[in-house]
Amino acid sequence: MSLDLTQFHVTFFEESFEALDGMEFALLRLSAGEPDAELIHTIFRAAHCIKGGAAIFGFAEIASFTHTLETYLDALRGGYLIVNQLGIDLLLKSVDLLRSTLTSVRQGNTVDQHPVAALQSDLERLSQVVDPPDSGVGEPVHYGAGAVVARPGGDVARHAKLLPGGWHIDFKPHRTLLQQGNEPLCMFGELQRLGALQPRVDIGNLPLLNLMNPELCYLAWDLRVHGEVVRADVEEIFEWVADDCEVLIRALASVAELPLPNQPVPALCPERAIDLTAPQQTNITQIWYGESGSIRVSIEKIDELINRVGELVITQSMLHELGGSGTPEVSRLQIGLERLERNTRELQESVMRMRMLPVNTVFSRLPRVVRDLGRKMDKQVELTLSGGQTELDKNVLEKIGDPLVHLLRNAIDHGIEKPSMRRQLGKLETGHLRLAAAYKGGRINIRLSDDGAGLDREKILARARSDGLVQNEEISDAAIYDLIFHPGLSTAEQTTELSGRGVGMDVVRKNIRALGGSVEVSSERGRGTTFSIVLPLTLAIMDGQSVVLGDENYIIPLVSIVESLQPRAGLVGHGSNCGELLLFRDEYVPILRLDELFGTRIQSRSPSDGLIVIVESDERRIGIVVDDLLGQQQIVLKSLEENYRKVKGISGATILGGGSVALILDVPELMRIAQERGAA
């Protein structure tokens, strides 16, 4: 019997792309000269997984390439080679090449063999382990352009795979260290100049925030400087603080049998070390590969399930209406129906949760972006991610990648200063970006902060004044910073290919608002800028207000409703050329007649006959005339495009309790329509 192997190709491609994502993610955490066994093992396993599948399913080129990759990684894994920058670069290139090759193969296109062969031979060259000329203990052998460091035998290298030698420093400052004018960060900077530094911070003595005195130092550090470092140089650094701390300096060889910290910190930043010890950070490399306990289900199947559960909810509510009252049997039935209702709701929630994915699926590709941009801009930048497990709907997730990349770009281009400038300013040369996600009252909050230059208040204000965006009035800092989201405003002295001119921030805000979210900025000159994005967890469920228009029901998303009111006749007027207006809270709000727009019948001839729902989007308001308000309910958004097409002014539909369909108003679009009409 023979089996058609092509049926497994889809799975093979999916898992291979996933493995590449994981490989890239791990590679970006890997630092030259600091071979982290777990990371290397993860990278190896990813290559191995692709190779195994490729060989079985007959993709010979991919199998051959990943074999070469695996050989190199195996040498790293065994400690025969130590990973260097060239190696990391080649591995990242391999990830890109494998991605494009897999894409071509999947689409049935021919693969350009040339780059594959070239990279393959580079990797082969890198993998050649040369035995040291003599068996001098632990003497590293450099050859080529210092490209590869070979060590005598893998076993010797098991414990400390960093450059041999170095010092282990136990640094316990007294609380008063900072008050004496000492800055540990500067000392660590000095240490880093001596050799590769692995700092680890002890936050065990950190009090609760409300008990914390900002002038005291509660931290202690465990520092390892690797390389041929003279003890006196280390002592010299600590000489200044000798009276304000306890320092114990030991040769690293004497502590080599101690396990290295699980997560070596690639570069200097004690702040970062705190994050790495947080539990949600330490297992970040496992998320992508932690396949145990999960299965792969296509989104269609889940949506199908969601539809079925929706039907169940409707059936349940039909039964509920049949209920009635009277005999004991009926009241027993009622109790059962109530239980059924609760169960159905819970089932619906669980099913909706199946669409939720961790935000890491987007975060994980950002370190690469930061790395590439940093190089392009000659800036040293580090990105710390946290809260990657926060989950949100696939729909939302797919749409926040671009805005986030844009904000990162801006932060690196305009925020983080060049290393020389940072040094002058007394900052660490490496700029630091922090991207954190967290739940915040049923929504997700994503914050991006940098420790760069901060926004230039005066420059923004000057620019805004010259563009006539603001007059000479008093204006708060927050309002000034908010101007950066205004279309056309850019204050960068040099426009660069990265951030362009002024285009962008307005688009970022627009895209985030289109998702029902908001973005705000805060900044401190010289200290950095923070963007805070708040997004709904899902687009699929929302709270809606049911309204009656003639003989149809429509749903208005509750989030956009400001107020519903019955206007007194005197408050409705006509603008000179822009239709009806309503005086609402000292402001004239245009009135939109949906019956005219949609061609539906409406009972309320004039706005004051019916009700007006004031809705808001993009800081603008309009009033929508309706005949009546019905209840508020949680609704599941269904697409009209799936079987039909987009309808102007309608964002989708939902199924009501009785099984009938109600259309959901697209408030931002109605706002645009009202504006066009006002302008016309």
Partner: protein
Amino acid sequence: MQTHTEERTTTAEPATATPGKSSQYLTFVLADEHYAVEILRVREIRGWSPVTRLPQSPAFLLGVLNLRGSIVPIIDLRVRLSLESVAYTSVTVTIVLAVESSRGKRNFGIVVDGVSDVLEVSPSDIQVPPEIGKGVNPEFITGLAAVADKMLMLLDIDQLLNEKELSAVVERSEAAVGS
């Protein structure tokens, strides 16, 4: 709603045409004419139930219905084929069809006067349509077939909710509203 519609779908005795090549068609009546659609394209037959009107939609689009959790557009086939409209009766039914469009699989419903039989039609029975009288738009008919004493018009369902035409119609109606 489902039960009585299924009774209406009766299976006819197999035809004697070339085996293997013939296919089954669901036939229905519209303005005293017999029409047919390939049975494989039929997802469901249901009694007439009220739809939710869609704004700015062409006249032949009655609105949308909930079909097991997805939102499905419903076409009045009489209007679509430029036939005279009639009031809906108890035998009026909606046939839900599946088509492959450039944007994937889509479902929509057509409202017809009533369904009749499922018939076997072999390719040799089908003739290219000559001039069709009675005002039926020939673009929706792929062929004629004489089967079981009936002249069947084979409906080209892929054209009924044609994207291009739909866009043109909708843009016209949007423009009309906007002015």
